[in-house]
Amino acid sequence: MKTIVCAAVGAALLHITPTVVLVDRPDAVAQLLPGADKFFAREVHLSDADAHKLHEAVDWSPSDGVVTFYSGRHGTTLVGLLQFVRVDTPHGPVEVTVSFDPAGTVHGVIVTKATVETKPWVLEALRAGLVQHYQGLAATGTPDGSSALRGSVGELPLYMAQEIDKGVARALAAYRLFYQTR
């Protein structure tokens, strides 16, 4: 009886949009910062003015007011750094992991999380080669991988590609405003 009651409690939260891990974070780190054996987290706690600056740039600021850059080093040599950026869509959150090489250009992008609903759309966009379009992008660039997919994927994968563009744009802006200049 207790089991039944406990299970029934679940009905209260049936509205959760379940997250699906597409790539584990450690696997994404290993792929995006190859050869790194030391890692550091740089947390940038934004003042109101800087949060506003970021908001003006990409219409977004992190909900906890903190932008975190994770850098990887091999010995004393910087391999690169990355950010995990969350994009909230009407179909649930998507997490985009964006890495930069030491020169400050985009080294790679991996979509690490989606939701049960968005997973097939995200996968279709990825199969169509979405993330290749971000490689080599400078911090001042505008990510527009979705445009390259127009006509080759359906409407919903295209929509998700636009959301992923948004995630990359946020990472670029944060990098440009709070990493390159500090």
Binding site: A7, A12, L14, I16, T19, F39, L46, D64, P90, P93
Partner: protein, 183 residues
């Protein structure tokens, strides 16, 4: 009592039984899902619906940078599942009508039970109040304070209790209660 489930045609009894079992199945999987994504404690529910309110300090006067070393295993630590305001708006829009329909279906079953008018009113109220409490808790947790997560848990328990009460009473009266008792 507007009609008597215990004396209803066997096809009606079977329909009601299937409906209740289907709801029970759905609720069971709902419990599983909650265990995976939100948990059953006020703390975990609050982390799901009010993460920023729980962790956000006052913004500093000027931007502060803190750097610390990390291990690869720390990357694997699971962040809590979070529902932001936009998603909660959508969830409320989508799920409240569905919960209303479920409460209405269960209430129709209640109307056929051999219980007092007052008990019937009480159970129907419980069936509809539970999802209200559930969503009220989520919104208050998000907008006011994480402490309101207990309202969501209370709503969940109330939904569980409502389904359990209606199911047990209906199955008992339809299939197990002796006819002489029923009459």
């Amino acid at each position: 009592m507007l009609y008597d489930l215990s004396r209803a045609d066997v096809r009606v009894k079977w329909l009601v039984t299937c409906l209740l079992l289907t709801f029970g199945l759905a609720y069971g999987f709902g419990g599983w899902m909650v265990a995976m994504y939100a948990g059953f404690t006020p703390k975990s529910v609050a982390a799901t619906y009010a993460p920023s309110e729980m962790s956000m300090p006052m913004p500093p006067e000027s931007t502060v940078v803190v750097e610390h070393p990390m291990t690869m295993s720390q990357f694997a630590e699971a962040a809590p599942h979070q529902v932001d305001t936009a998603l909660l708006v959508q969830d409320t829009h989508v799920h409240v009508p569905m919960y209303g329909l479920i409460a209405a279906c269960l209430s129709v079953v209640v109307l056929g039970l051999r219980i007092t008018r007052r008990a019937g009113l009480g159970i129907v109220s419980l069936l509809f109040a539970a999802p209200w409490l559930d969503f009220l808790g989520m919104w208050l947790t998000k907008l006011l304070a994480p402490g309101f997560a207990w309202l969501t848990l209370l709503g969940g328990w109330a939904m569980a209790a409502g389904l359990l009460i209606v199911t047990v009473m209906a199955l008992w009266q339809m299939w197990l209660m002796k006819e002489r008792t029923a009459t």
